[in-house]
Symmetry: C2
Subunit: 194 residues, 2 copies
DNA sequence: GGTAGACTATGACGAACGTTATAGCCAGAG
DNA sequence: CTCTGGCTATAACGTTCGTCATAGTCTACC
């Protein structure tokens, strides 16, 4: 008992994140998530008793932490290095999946809440975006950027990368990523001189 | 006969674009699209015999042309005016829908092709992005921007706005749009001085 | 006024959906 | 050994999905 850290549970979450990033939340069925993680369907409802919403929420947070970890590490070398890592990470996701996968956080963010209630997965997506922005903005400020400028630039960076990943998938090319990389690197160099 | 320009057909396409922008493509059923346009289900298969994919493709192109029209008009006053119109247009979509609607082109762009085939709706999304970028880039060049710089800035703008619209929905706030607006306006003013 | 062809109404098809229930397995504690 | 409780296996529930077929209505021209 109390042995709730079975590798099976994390495998389901990681697999769910991958599938959501490819097909979107509502096009991904719980049966497929289970099969993709080689777990029985019953297990998903055992680990995630609140069903699909809970699984989606955890997948978003899982991705958020995965990216944040890389971001935190590379930002130690300054905001430009952090941005490069951010760009490379998403480029790898897109290329390795042959333009099939993207960002699961974005995929969840654009699904409409149909009740009056705001689904927890959407709130989680907002928090993940906020977290990424804060990491970037803090680093920019630490390297000399003005407070307001840092916040604006961080938002621009996260939004542009998210949008560009989607554009790369549609165009089946990484050229959009290459283009915004140049622009963002210049911007960051100018805003955070030291 | 030959009276294929019934208002009913366009109503279905416009309604489909709206619904796709809210819930994504696969979460939007043909039955709901028909009901939303007050058209019978049979009519959708009469007007769009290739089914859901055709309807999605036309919805993407419809939105693409709607935005391009506004863009072309406002860009006559220069790239800064065009950008402002682009931002305002999407801000209006997000606010008027109480953060429920976004961009249907983005929604279609992030759906995985499950066969080896690339669905026509995805190709249409790529073309729409390309069209918006070209409109912006041409205007930037006409006002003095370098060729390469103009292309990069146009891609950054479209991608950032698309990503920001999604962020605004998740956060239920227009603040991200306000932030990137400032940054992009400065960028464009610097790149296209006259 | 009759006939053709554009549109609508209705219902059905198999498949897949999210979710739940129940019975079985199989480790470790007593 | 027995027993408990975490996990699995299997089947079923009601609903909705995309798509198709068919019969009916309506309108515009000859």
């Amino acid at each position: 008992m109390a042995k709730s850290s079975t590798p099976s549970r994390e495998r389901i979450v990681a697999g769910a994140a991958d599938m959501i990033s490819r097909r979107g939340l509502s096009a991904t069925s719980i049966r497929e998530m289970a099969k993709h993680a080689k777990a029985p369907l019953g297990s998903t409802y055992h680990y995630f008793p609140e069903g699909k919403q809970q699984l989606a929420t955890e997948a978003v947070r899982y991705t958020g932490e995965w990216v944040a970890r890389s971001l935190r590490k590379e930002l130690e070398a300054g905001p430009a290095a952090g941005l490069k890592a951010f760009l490379d990470l998403w480029r790898k996701v897109v290329v390795d999946s042959d333009f099939h996968a993207g960002c699961p956080v974005l995929a969840v963010a654009i699904e409409e809440p149909q009740d009056g209630e705001i689904p927890p997965a959407l709130t989680a997506a907002a928090e993940v975006f906020e977290q990424w922005e804060t990491l970037l903005a803090d680093s920019l400020r630490a390297y000399g950027a003005q407070t307001e400028q840092a916040a604006q630039l961080a938002t621009l960076t996260v939004a542009a990368v998210e949008g560009t990943v989607a554009m790369c998938r549609a165009k089946r090319s990484t050229e959009p990523l290459d283009r915004i990389a140049e622009q963002l690197l210049v911007l960051i160099a100018a805003a955070a001189p030291k």
